[in-house]
Symmetry: C3
Subunit: 273 residues, 3 copies
Amino acid sequence: MFKEMLNNVRSKTPLIHNITNYVTVNDCANILLACGGSPIMSDDISEVEEITSICGGLNINIGTLNANTIPSMFAAGKKANELGHPVVLDPVGAGASSLRTNTAHKLLEEVKFAAIRGNISEVKALINGEGTTRGVDADVADTVNEDTLPQAVNFAKAFSAKTGAIIAITGAIDIIADAEKAYVLYNGHSMMSSVTGTGCQLSALTAAYLTANPEHPLEAVAAAVCAMGVCGQIAHDRMTELDGNSSYRNYIIDAIHNLDGDTLDKMANYKVM
Amino acid sequence: MFKEMLNNVRSKTPLIHNITNYVTVNDCANILLACGGSPIMSDDISEVEEITSICGGLNINIGTLNANTIPSMFAAGKKANELGHPVVLDPVGAGASSLRTNTAHKLLEEVKFAAIRGNISEVKALINGEGTTRGVDADVADTVNEDTLPQAVNFAKAFSAKTGAIIAITGAIDIIADAEKAYVLYNGHSMMSSVTGTGCQLSALTAAYLTANPEHPLEAVAAAVCAMGVCGQIAHDRMTELDGNSSYRNYIIDAIHNLDGDTLDKMANYKVM
Amino acid sequence: MFKEMLNNVRSKTPLIHNITNYVTVNDCANILLACGGSPIMSDDISEVEEITSICGGLNINIGTLNANTIPSMFAAGKKANELGHPVVLDPVGAGASSLRTNTAHKLLEEVKFAAIRGNISEVKALINGEGTTRGVDADVADTVNEDTLPQAVNFAKAFSAKTGAIIAITGAIDIIADAEKAYVLYNGHSMMSSVTGTGCQLSALTAAYLTANPEHPLEAVAAAVCAMGVCGQIAHDRMTELDGNSSYRNYIIDAIHNLDGDTLDKMANYKVM
């Protein structure tokens, strides 16, 4: 199933508009090219609607958020909604500042997202700030492990039901859920957290997979997350003792470039909950 | 001939002011260092004229164009003109949005460029928008191949005659033309398009070559384009089966770092039209 | 001694807020992860105080300075001072434009820095602009070599006495001084200057070392500078003949990732003046 998702990206070359932070933007562009997609980065309010219109999908990442690009996120998001393009939200640092938390909340109110991808803390922050309604996340722990997995899966499903978005909570264990069904993925390598922007890259990748697979959003997001994890493993296998996180960064993108559907399906390690 | 151009860059260490996008800026800086030049990135209106004044050349790249940096491009461009510094225009995404197309047109009106480097679509967009005068590009195809080459060369020569700039149209086949003469280059590798910013890097490189070779602008630009193509080939020869576009990015810059004039001349594959 | 500094970074995982340029920001993030720290990049005035508050240290780098981020530097710097967090200044390009020189001067007036790291020209520019008081730097040469070393060391000590900051003047020979004592380091490799942002990376690293070693600021900064130099050597030893500055960039960060305290102490090459 994931294989089909990957092959559709390769055959359709989805063009993805990214409004993203300046820290990891180059890696986001290269991973989009690696997976078979095509990136455009654009964040000025006077062109984002036009740029989104020529693309197939939109990736909004709130890292290094600033006053100039916030209105662009809303304008592009609404335009993409109007055109029926999938929009991904990466709530980088939600919970770390009011600016990021509030912007994420407003984006959720005004833009319909096809997927939201973050770590457990970031995704929880999308709920916590909403006035007094802490609701679904009340007892979700800050780490997803086998003990906390059931409640984290329920949290993801409930948040998906509420937002209509596929929820991807990534970490040592990844949860990808719609309102009814969740993929729990065990791919990846702990060293991925020593490379800046693997999360940002995954969000860009997710936008490409969603755009190329409009009929299967849950499987598209799960395939993207799985591809990133599998490539984290392939890349790690390649490390020499002199290599560190900088070479690892390159090897992960290289692995995405070389990944084929059979390898993805063979290495995929998941259960459905 | 190209060898001499390269050697002048190595011996003169041209200092290049770049007003460029935040996607590929790091690679532009590293390729300038690799070729023997020296980069300064600066885009605030209150310093760009001063920064341009201490440099030898200016590279204006309109990727991730925004309201803050547009006035800086005009100010720096005019200052560079006043000082007789070569100015390169990379019209990234011209044709993709009105902001980019219109800004490129205004830049062409108000700043004299020594060279313009883009793909065929971007360069065509520099003409198409000009009111009703579609003139020279009326029948230029969107791909340069052996069939469309003669008209593309004529288009490049005509656009050079009109602007006074060396026109570099890069792709599978590269055309570098002044009003009278064109170099048609067959170097490069198709995988270069899977690395974000190889075009941006080439524009930065072009600025260094032009700055170090003020007496031979056409050959300087042709040598820069040829160097990039040759290094795309050298870098590709080095790829292992685990390598992908991210390692390839590094290998291209590495090859520019190690390139000598003899290798450039030996590997150069071109004709004059 | 340096070993202890390094180990404290690894064990304490200092979280560093960076307000830095968009050219080398990705490398700064990856080197912070490599050394055992954790990076946050944030520059919008409406969140920088909050972000600084959740961090342990602040790194202010004035490359690609612009009107939007200058007020953020002051706000974050003052907040960090209030909280007792160490603040590092990297005066990139001070002396190259009035904007950079003046901003650096004002930052020195309004923010208390724990360390200032730049090349000799940049550090001199921090003094030269101060009205008529050229004072301490009057006879400091623009290059630090064995002949000019004594006066450069005196300059660094005097500037430290004046600012209260540890002064790190880096180049072929590195000087790290407080008002009383200076470490003169001979580590590093000349090829490091062919990689963009090794200075920016070192400033980020310095912030991590200072934050993890609040009781020994001089040794913390010296250890950071030494680590960078040692890793420049380790990385260079690894170069093949096809490698150039782009691979070297990765290898330096890799080496920081793999560096242990024993290797640092064994390879450290310095004297105290």
